[in-house]
């Protein structure tokens, strides 16, 4: 797991916020530094994401606007008319080599917004106006992974109980399900786990839990009655990728409890071209980023032929174990 934070930057205006105090109490050895605005620290020029990631700091801040963003084209909208996401946190405690956050944010430091109530009000207003909302809660971060010191997922689950027109998707690689296990399952909430072959987890998804540990959490959640989505995304063309993903499909087929499984989605690696450019400037040790990608509309992805191979392989191997209606292609 991640180390503690050596320093915690705190916006002056929220220094007495009860949530700030709760978080600070979790890190008694961290050095607190008062700042005026999180962007003064987070958005500075010439920061090196890789170097900062070796010793990431925490930044506690107040979000003042943009409590909801329309979902991006990179992510599946699961055919919902109002697909939005929010950002309660920026950056992640894990370090996946393919993570787009490395190219999107100037800093590797983790920003946590403590004014959840403002997010709740903005969400309520939206639902009132539009009658429904599909909200991706764990965007630009892995929210559940932070639950032990930033228990936002729990609060949003409570909030969702009171708002039947709100659907939530909470995507994670963490095994922190235990933190929310006592909550009542909500049919409007999908807990989505991203899974990868163990070999890829070890090589590429640094700091994340093993496949077996994720499967354990997933099965627990299904047994408890939650709707669960499995995301095999991004699929990476590493050496022997086909063997790895085929056996992942088999493991999932064998070890997952099927009844509660909402769907299983998969997608190939893709990224905004400018993000990839920025990432490869500082992360030169990851072969997956130096693949000969195809560029289209500012997005890089695998070539048509490679994509077809992935689609073919995944459809065949997943079809062996799952019903076709469960299998979704998230992006190609």
């Amino acid at each position: 797991m991640f180390k503690t934070f050596s320093h915690i930057y705190i916006e002056e205006n929220i220094k007495d916020h009860f949530r700030t105090k709760e978080i600070l109490a979790r890190f008694p050895n961290s050095i607190p530094i008062l700042i005026r605005h999180y962007k003064d620290s987070f958005n500075r020029n010439s920061q090196n994401f890789r170097i900062q990631k070796e010793s990431p700091k925490l930044i506690l801040a107040e979000k003042k606007e943009n409590f909801l963003y329309p979902g991006s084209d990179f992510s599946p909208n699961f055919s919902h008319p109002h697909f939005y996401y929010n950002t309660l946190a920026l950056n992640c405690i894990y370090d996946c080599e393919y993570c787009y956050l490395q190219g999107m944010f100037p800093s590797a430091n983790l920003v946590l917004f403590v004014n959840w109530e403002d997010f709740f009000s903005a969400t309520e207003e939206f639902i009132e106006k539009n009658k429904s909302l599909y909200l991706a809660l764990s965007y630009d971060t892995d929210l559940l992974a932070l639950e032990s010191f930033f228990p936002a997922t729990k609060e949003w689950l409570k909030f969702a109980e009171l708002h039947p027109n709100l659907s939530l998707e909470i995507r994670t690689k963490s095994t922190n399900y235990g933190q929310i296990a006592k909550m009542k399952p909500n049919p409007n909430v999908i807990l989505a786990w991203t899974v990868s072959p163990q070999a890829i987890i070890e090589k590429v998804e640094h700091g994340t839990p093993s496949l077996q540990a994720r499967l354990k959490s997933i099965n627990q959640a299904i047994s408890d009655g939650w709707k669960v989505r499995i995301c095999i995304d991004p699929i990476l063309r590493v050496p022997d990728w086909n063997t790895h993903y085929q056996s992942l499909a088999d493991i999932l087929g064998k070890e997952l409890k099927m009844d509660g499984l909402t769907d299983i989605s998969f997608g190939g690696f893709r990224m905004n071209i400018d993000f990839l450019k920025r990432i490869t400037e500082v992360r030169k040790d990851s072969s997956i980023l130096f693949h000969a990608f195809e560029k289209k509309d500012k997005i890089v992805s695998y070539s048509k032929l490679e994509t077809e191979e992935i689609l073919e392989l995944m459809s065949t191997s997943l079809n062996k174990n799952f019903s076709p209606s469960q299998i979704k292609v998230s992006y190609f």
Binding site: N45, S46, N48, I51, E54, P239, S287, A292
Partner: protein, 288 residues
């Protein structure tokens, strides 16, 4: 390589002796001393002088050198807190420029055997808590609320250094020299205080940045490719793409010989189409 900026000679003296740095001849105005690979620069008092010295020094280096250089400012500072003993050393994690109100946040990424950290406020004049002392600016307790240390260079140093050097390479450290009594420190006292921190800090200063690792691709593989392609006309974009492909190959095949096309093929390139084909085939061979 490391560079260390001081405001005045008395702060630098023991460091100059220890490093055996000699005057470095350059066309600028500031005093720069150098031993084999480390620099000591004396700027004179005040944030403007310090900023100019940083800028002048930065211009003596290439961008690559700057990216690998550790760059520090050490010196004395007054403390607003009576309880902090004279001679205590602090790393600075926040600098406020009193005149502009701007804040700067030096990142403390590297470990140090000096564990204490605090904030620093940089004023354009010496500061005292006493009333009306000649040449000092008098501030009240309220005006100094939340301020820990006070100097006259920190913000100038950090603002200028962050224009030229990666943020992670920059550090500021201060020794507490007074409690704002409104007296100028004697040179001998300053020398003594700086000497006290010299031994433990010197090793930290000269040690290379932990993230300054040699990229074997740049030193081994790419020069071979560059020599191979020097007599064919690849566009800059082609070179860029080729470099990525060669890196891909190396990451996937750390122990294999780099595939280079046959020299004969290279010599037979007659047209742009030939070149394109040659280039595409080569890249394909790298993405196996």
């Amino acid at each position: 390589m490391s560079a260390l900026f001081f405001a005045v000679l008395s702060e630098a003296k023991s460091w100059l002796e220890r490093s055996q740095a000699k005057p470095f001849s350059h066309s600028g105005k500031f005093r720069i001393f150098k031993n084999e690979s480390h620099f000591i620069i004396i700027s004179g008092t005040g944030k403007l002088s310090m900023a100019l010295a940083v800028s002048e020094f930065a211009h003596t280096l290439s961008k690559e050198e700057r990216n690998q250089m550790k760059i520090w400012n050490l010196g004395i500072a007054g403390s607003n807190n009576q309880e902090i003993p004279l001679g205590d050393f602090f790393w600075i994690h926040k600098i406020t420029d009193a005149a502009s109100g701007r804040d700067f946040y030096p990142d403390r990424i590297m470990g140090s055997q000096f564990k204490k950290e605090t904030n620093l406020k940089t004023f354009d004049k010496p500061i005292t808590k006493e009333k009306k002392v000649d040449r000092f600016l008098s501030l009240t307790e309220e005006e100094l609320d939340g301020v820990s240390l006070i100097d006259m260079e920190g913000s100038g140093f950090f603002e200028a250094a962050s224009l030229y050097f990666p943020l992670e390479n920059i550090a500021v450290g201060k020794v507490v020299s007074d409690h704002l009594e409104g007296k100028f420190c004697q040179s001998e006292n300053i020398e003594m205080m700086m000497e006290k921190i010299l031994n433990p800090l010197y090793e930290e200063w000269i040690s290379p940045l932990p993230w300054d690792r040699v990229d074997p691709f740049e030193t081994n593989d790419w020069p071979i490719v560059e020599t191979f392609i020097q007599d064919i006309r690849l566009t800059e974009t082609m070179k860029h793409d080729l470099k990525k492909s060669v890196r891909f190959f190396r990451l996937r095949n750390p122990d294999s010989l780099l595939p280079l096309p046959e020299t004969m093929l290279k010599n037979n390139l007659k047209s742009k189409t030939d070149l394109k084909q040659f280039f595409d085939d080569w890249r394909k061979s790298l993405h196996v």
